[in-house]
């Protein structure tokens, strides 16, 4: 078990190195950022100074060494556009994304679990039909469109909620709702089908033979087995909350990581893009390890694996 986790961490570390190299190359390939800063009146000396200041006068291998040693110290360099440390910009934006992503994640997962289980337990009932409808619509309608339509209805027409921005509790309703709409359907469908498979199992029949209550059968015997599949997906969803928030943050003008990323990408603001990419990748890999450990808790067979 501990060996298994050590191997997973080692693998994650290797993947992180791979992503570091990839990001470095991709970002350099995206063009020279000095073009975005210089004005027509800039003299060649000024441009050279700027390049030196940004460390762009060095060779690529040298730049890579600087990049990596910075990473190790937790420094990502300064934003080319805003002229302040990328780490600082992330520090400002990240809490906003967390405030948006965490509630959305937990609401979506709780709903997915409750509705998925309900639909499976009452198969072919009106609940099941409702859940299927939500799933079908949720997977077909573009989330950004639903968000805009919700904005039109609740903010513009009914004037119940603010159009955009962050601040009061009311500001959270639409963005969080949009993200829940993104996250819920796939997860709910997965929980439902996973649950249906498990409910067909012989050990469920044996649990009924024992005289256990339907609630115990579903929540104790079926759910724990049915969660093994969806757990991976939940981990993946959690790890991708930052990129998953991009569209929501753009629509609702939410000052979080997603918006920062799109702004940085369109402005070719290397250090910021690098910093965000590394953070997203690290979160992804970290989450994978968390999921592996969670697996071991749910599935005793993994816990007892010696090799």
């Amino acid at each position: 078990m501990s060996r298994y986790i050590v191997i997973r961490i080692l693998q994650a570390f290797l993947a992180l190195i791979g992503i570091t190299v990839l990001v470095f190359i991709l970002v350099r390939a995206s063009g020279d950022p000095t073009h975005l800063i210089i004005t027509p009146t800039s003299t060649p000396e000024e441009i050279a100074n700027l390049k030196k200041q940004l460390g762009l006068d060095k060779s690529y291998p040298e730049q890579f060494v600087v990049f990596v040693s910075g990473l190790v110290r937790g420094e990502f360099g300064d934003s080319i556009i805003k002229r302040k440390p990328a780490a600082e910009m992330i520090k400002e934006a990240l809490p906003n994304t967390i405030k948006l992503g965490l509630p959305a994640f937990f609401i979506a997962m709780a709903l997915a679990l409750g509705l998925g289980v309900l639909a499976a337990a009452r198969r072919d009932s009106i609940y099941d039909a409702g859940v299927k409808l939500i799933a079908v619509l949720g997977q077909a309608l573009p989330g950004f469109w639903v968000a805009i339509m919700a904005m039109l209805l609740f903010s513009v027409r009914l004037r119940l909620l603010p159009v955009a921005g962050a601040g009061t509790l009311k500001h959270y309703v639409l963005p969080v709702g949009t993200m829940v709409f993104f996250l819920l359907p796939g997860m709910m469908r997965l929980v439902r089908s996973s649950m249906l498979d498990v409910l067909d199992a012989e050990y469920i029949r044996l649990a009924r033979i024992k005289g256990l209550s339907e609630a115990k059968i579903i929540w104790k015997h079926a759910l724990r087995n049915a969660l093994i599949g969806p757990l991976t997906t939940a981990g993946m969803i959690f790890a991708s909350l930052i990129t998953g928030a991009v569209i929501t943050e753009i629509i609702f003008n939410w000052p979080g990581m997603g918006r920062l990323l799109v702004e940085a990408v369109t402005a070719r603001d290397f250090p910021v893009v690098q910093a965000i990419t590394m953070l997203v990748a690290a979160m992804d890999l970290g989450m994978n390890i968390v999921v592996d450990i969670a697996y071991a808790f749910v599935d005793p067979q993994i816990r007892h694996q010696k090799s």
Partner: protein, 301 residues
């Protein structure tokens, strides 16, 4: 969001013995014919866009900007679904937009399905170090956040048709590879493959003549199920401004354009979104139907 999630569980999947009420049976057929009709219409519209569209999709007419649809007060028959901020006809733009959605999806499917199939069959059939290497690459591809990569690529190569195709393809092959490898592994130990080996067939011949024909059904199902997802992904990229660049009328971009005038002209955003939803819905239903017919084992998809 842009990745086809294939979570095929290892638990033994047994056919359900329960009977289904009759109305579900009728619905099942409807969920085949209606989606088929919608998708046929989509292809027809895309092919004959220049004949069908009543107006030039990029013709600006500032006097006729923000006109509501014909059925609303102030709308005219000239612009059935109204006009946008630049006075361009929404209907015509949507008709031309079908070309972008369809061509991007088809190009991505062609690339991802063929790359994924080759990787999957080779990994599954050859096994050993080849398999280990290919599957590691697949794992990494599936772990990479697709949105992030798409944004990066859009900047590296500049927005454009092939950038979008590349952004959606570069990770999109991985789920195919994983699925096809699984199918190949099952076939690898069947008697007819063993027989072909005994008869001295080369690895290449076995993969092409014996393995591939047996995975075609699974492949068709997964491809159909990917259509909806790709159309959504293309729309999302366009929405973020990294899709096929304007003035080309992409559906996702149209939704975004309407955002700033949503309080005055809801139709600019609303109609393209409805069409996206309808097409994706059709693709998903058709995929489900085909899966039930061709390969019920993929129910988890």
């Amino acid at each position: 969001m842009m990745r086809v999630q294939i979570t095929k569980r290892t638990a033994n999947v047994r056919p359900r013995k329960k009977s289904r009420p009759r109305h579900i049976h009728v619905l099942k057929n409807l969920t085949f014919y209606l989606p088929l009709l919608v998708l046929t219409l989509l292809v027809f519209t895309a092919v004959f866009a220049d004949v069908l569209a009543p107006h030039d999709p990029v013709a600006v007419s500032m006097q006729e900007r923000l006109l509501p649809p014909a059925f609303m007060e102030g709308g005219t028959k000239k612009y059935l679904l109204g006009t946008d901020q630049l006075g361009r006809d929404i209907l015509s733009r949507m008709i031309y937009g079908s070309r972008i959605s369809l061509s991007v999806s088809l190009a991505v499917i062609a690339i991802t399905a063929s790359v994924g199939t080759v990787m999957g069959i080779v990994a599954g059939y050859l096994g050993g170090a080849t398999e280990a290497l290919l599957m590691r690459i697949t794992d990494i591809s599936m772990a990479f956040p697709p949105m992030l990569l798409a944004l990066l690529l859009a900047v590296v190569f500049g927005p454009g048709f092939w950038t979008v195709v590349l952004a959606l393809s570069i990770l999109g092959w991985a789920p195919y590879a994983r699925l096809i490898r699984g199918e190949t592994l099952k076939l690898r130990y069947t008697d007819f493959v063993a027989q072909a080996r005994i008869n001295g067939a080369s690895s290449l011949r076995i993969m092409v003549k014996h393995i591939f024909p047996n995975i075609v059904n699974s492949l068709i199902v997964v491809i159909t199920m990917a259509v909806g997802m790709l159309i959504l992904a293309e729309a999302a990229l366009s929405f973020l401004g990294v899709g096929v660049p304007p003035p080309a009328p992409s559906w996702g971009y149209m939704v975004n354009e309407g955002r700033s005038v949503i309080d005055r002209a809801w139709w600019i955003s609303a109609f393209p979104g409805i069409v996206i939803g309808l097409v994706v819905l059709s693709g998903n239903f058709l995929g489900d139907w085909l899966r039930d017919k061709l390969d019920p084992r993929l129910r988890q998809l």
